[in-house]
Symmetry: C2
């Protein structure tokens, strides 16, 4: 495994238990180091569920399964394997999902359409069904409400540290908990999610409404991150609401004023986890925030910011502390959105490099170069045509990215 990212938090987050959620982890030898790689989550009856999935055309078998069962009924379980994606595994892959969810359903005395599944890891290797199914009894017998940290470790692949967080949201006088875990490091491009993320809350909110809240939070968080512009076959975000905390006034709409703090905290949980994924981006040496303003609409602003965040020439320049802002002009251009070339502005942190579509001759290049040696860099661009803006987050492209990916899998 690679050295831990320099952006890893100093200490692990304390992830709070959620009423109605029990977890356990075990090794089924999908990871080469015998670390836990199989996770079972059991949720109480009546758990609402919302999901978002990769838009890839080569979705993995567990993604196909979740998309099929979402909206059919409440959720009772989630089973996740790490180290193998169960993608491009033909009939075997579909069978594995069928057998596993059936087995879990029998144990929990529920319907298989209440059992969600996700996977992450190598694409194109078949997992023999027994390898997972043999372990489910033991997982079931060890369920506990206190295993979130173990779970966040279990789902890691090329991640160099585990990712989890809790927030407490208020509904009037009542507190509800939102706890989330995520994994992701490479194959990260913002097309929905590009990673695994599981969020649990004990608030009582129905599936239809939490789906809308999830969609709204997603476009401000996971949709705006990028590590390497590659999109996974397995991206999955699932949000489960066990309903154990019954709210004084039932929530009947996603715009219910009671939801204000909950939506804010949910977005904070998702933003934290999304940024943790970038901060653990394969080979990262710099964390980069790109803000595009002056765009016609938010879509254009996001497309331009992402074009900058995705550009290997911008990312290598950042790795090399190079004030080559011309590459940012290039990346703005290749987004092919409406801009005013004569009003373009480019800024590295506080330093304006270009204004009115041309260079600033008086910029103090020594100061700029010093700024670019910082671990956290801000790139601001203004495209001079409107009032809308968007922020995205990315990392630089370093030798370590190549080392990791030239060697991943024998």
């Amino acid at each position: 495994m690679s050295t831990k990212s320099i952006f890893a938090p100093q200490k692990s987050a304390n992830i709070l238990p959620v009423n109605g959620v029990q977890l356990s982890v075990i090794s089924c030898n999908l990871k080469s180091d015998s670390k836990p790689d199989l996770m079972l989550v059991n949720m109480s009856e009546g758990t609402a569920v919302a999901g978002l999935f990769t838009q890839s055309a080569t979705t993995a078998a567990p993604v196909d399964w979740c998309k099929k069962i979402l909206n059919q009924s409440d959720a009772r379980a989630l089973i996740v394997h790490a180290g193998n994606a169960n993608a491009c595994t033909g009939k075997n892959g579909t069978e594995l999902v069928k057998e596993t969810t059936k087995f879990v359903a029998t144990l929990l005395d529920c319907h298989k359409n209440q059992v969600y599944m996700a996977g992450t890891g190598i694409i194109g290797q078949i997992i023999p069904a027994y390898q997972i199914i043999n372990k489910i009894d033991e997982l079931f017998n060890n369920l506990t409400d206190d295993a979130f940290e173990l779970a966040s470790n279990c789902i890691m692949t090329t991640d160099t540290y585990s990712k989890g967080i809790s927030k407490i949201a208020k509904f009037g006088e009542q507190n509800v908990i939102i706890s989330g875990i995520a994994k992701g490091s490479g194959m990260i491009a913002p097309d929905m999610a590009t990673m695994l993320c599981f969020i649990f809350t004990d608030a009582k909110i129905n599936s239809e409404i939490i789906q809308k809240l999830l969609n709204r939070a997603n476009v401000k968080t996971f949709a705006n991150i990028n590590v390497d512009s590659d999109t996974s076959t397995n991206d999955t975000i699932l949000l489960f609401a066990t309903g154990k905390i019954d709210l004084e006034q039932p929530i009947t709409s996603e715009n219910d004023l009671q939801l204000e703090d909950f939506e804010k905290k949910l977005t904070e949980v998702m933003l934290y986890l999304a940024l943790q994924i970038v901060k653990d981006g394969e080979g990262i040496s710099k964390f980069i925030t790109v803000n595009c303003s002056g765009a016609k609409d938010e879509n254009d602003a996001r497309a331009i910011a992402l074009s900058i965040a995705e550009s290997p020439l911008v990312k290598t320049a950042m790795a090399g502390n190079s004030p080559n802002w011309g590459r940012i002009i290039m990346a703005i251009g290749k987004a092919k959105r409406d801009i005013n070339k004569k009003k373009l502005k480019v800024q590295f942190g506080p330093y304006v490099m270009a204004i009115n579509g041309g260079p600033v001759p008086t910029v103090d290049m020594d100061a700029v170069k010093k700024y670019l040696t910082c671990k956290e860099i801000y790139i601001f661009v203004d495209v001079g045509i409107g009032q809308r803006s968007s922020t995205v987050w990315t990392c630089d492209l370093t030798h370590a990215y190549i080392d990791i990916n030239a060697d991943y899998k024998s």
Copy 2:
């Protein structure tokens, strides 16, 4: 400068003079090493011209100029500077083009709308007009029909070798010459051209017809190459036909049967130059041909092949001789085109890695790994839904790419 690409031709091509075309080169100190960086081409009266340009929204000043004058009249001159792109240079950049073309027009006794201009190099640095204009007299006095090789060297930037070729095309008993030069190594993505390429012929064919021939040849050549998915502000292909060789039967349509050999040879010239650009891709250690078959239409086939060619995870796997074909599945998926997941096939050279949407268990992995150490790799995919196919060309992503781009420009 970087070491010469391992794919550089053993010896420089012999680029044949073209009737009605004279060239000269000089240094105007845009390149740091005082090598020639300014080129003038003079063409005889009545020269037809066709062009293709970057679709970037942040086009450089010379590109804006060429787009404006194309189709206005015949061409008499081309002036090209290397080492500075004259992009994002505001009013100064536009002025430079205006002053330079006017000066050249006066010397050649033609209209400024007959003077084409192109640039390549650093974005966002202003070139003082005198730096170019002071050299034009000398360029003019040294025009010769025998300077194609000097010209192909003059337009290089991060290229590690010069790129040029000639072909002779037959119109019945008559021979015409097609000579082309090109430059390009980084910031190469297939959105029209992504580089500079100038092609000259002495055939008598009008502008309207050579434009159509150029478009048709482009979609089989420059449109299908990729180095790093970044698109330049300065991409330009210009095709000039001096008309010095009068054809027995005038050409009245792009589908005239007389054009058969000419179009074939033009496409060969463009394919050779396009592949030379990939073979000089920044940091290249492997030349990779990606063929997608079984697609619904050619657009889908091309989009899928390009998605594979652009993927940093595929490119780093190829750099590391890694048979991780799962990344090819990922890249097929992220193109989001119509495919049949159950019929997907992936092949490295002769080795079928996946068939019917799942892995081939019997593949001889030692043989595959040995194959992947070759300098030229073929990736074949079949998406199982139709009859159309497309081929694109790319290179791997290596440490050398990062070295070159973390350091380019102080």
